[in-house]
């Protein structure tokens, strides 16, 4: 049962992670390292930082984010990511669904006696 629960948590994390990436990009563009550390700061969201890069590549391929290279004040150029229009639409749609889902679950599991 515990193993099953762990698997479920992992799946929930995996499923929601990409929307967290989109949300981090909602207001500003960020470069890879900054984005990865931003996600990792939140406890319980990312266990291996390196796995974010394959996710970013998939979001790019799916057209939800786009990237461009910019000079960095120190060191080599950085790849900056920003939301595309369809990325923004995907994020908005997820926000609505997520709120409904979260409220519905909270309604049961957080019910005060």
């Amino acid at each position: 049962m515990v193993a099953q629960q762990d698997a479920l948590i992992t799946q929930m994390r995996r499923g929601t992670l990409q929307y967290c990436v989109l949300a981090l990009l909602a207001d500003e563009e960020r470069y890879g390292f900054d984005l990865v550390r931003g996600l990792a700061e939140m406890d319980g969201m990312v266990t291996s930082e390196g796995t974010i890069y394959p996710l970013l590549s998939r979001l790019r391929r799916d057209g939800l984010v786009e990237s461009n290279w910019q000079e960095s004040p120190s060191g080599p150029p950085r790849r900056y990511y920003r939301l595309t229009d369809s990325g923004r639409a995907a994020l908005d749609a997820f926000r609505l669904e997520w709120r409904r889902f979260r409220d519905a679950v909270d309604n049961f599991v957080e019910r005060k006696a």
Partner: protein, 205 residues
């Protein structure tokens, strides 16, 4: 410059990652390795160059190379597009449709595609150049000269000298074998390339 232990740790990590990414198309493999390497460089910019413990922590946070490799979208860039499909059609029969040029176009498409590794591309190119053009041409010439004297097409006469007349009782066994190999090997190479497009083997359709 002497490499510090910290540098060695990073080099080992990147090497392990690169080998875990073997199954990916070369361009994607290089891109991901480069991103991870830049991540490490960025994280190290706040550390002393020889801060071994600091580097260990960075690598630990990145996670095991195998985990990063398994996060790559399995159905990723290897998916077959029109380039791959056209290449697989032109390699065997392109040379027949437009002699030589058709095959060359197929080979070029094979090499520009991201979906195959260099090894796959070598197999596709060398087994056999021209695709089915060579066996077809041989068959054609053999037929033409088959009668040994009863030439139907006089234009082919100059080429006859180059071809030995088959034995009286027809085509020899090893000629059939060579012919069969010339037909089967390129078809097998194409089947191999097509199967490589269906990666990963973990998820057979």
């Amino acid at each position: 410059m002497v490499a510090s232990n910290a540098d060695k740790l990073v080099a080992e990590y990147l090497k392990a990652l690169d080998s875990e990414l073997r199954g990916l198309p070369r361009s994607r493999r290089g891109e991901l390795t480069q991103e991870i390497s830049e991540h490490i460089a960025e994280a190290r910019s706040g550390l002393e160059a020889d801060d071994e413990a600091g580097v260990r922590e960075i690598l630990e946070r990145l996670g095991p190379p195998a985990e990063i490799a398994s996060a790559e979208d399995p159905a990723g860039p290897a998916r077959a597009g029109w380039t791959e499909v056209v290449a697989l059609i032109l390699l065997p029969i392109g040379g027949i449709i437009v002699p030589i040029v058709g095959w060359v176009v197929g080979a070029v498409l094979l090499w520009v595609s991201d979906a195959w590794s260099t090894k796959d591309k070598l197999i596709g190119t060398l087994l056999f150049p021209g695709g089915l053009l060579i066996p077809l041409a041989l068959l054609f010439l053999a037929e033409e000269s088959g009668g040994c004297g009863s030439v139907v097409n006089p234009q082919l006469q100059p080429q006859q000298g180059a071809l030995s007349c088959p034995p009286a009782d027809g085509v020899g066994a090893w000629e059939i074998l060579v012919m069969a190999a010339l037909v089967i090997v390129p078809l097998m190479a194409i089947a191999y390339l097509a199967q490589r497009l269906m990666r990963p083997p973990a998820a057979p359709a």
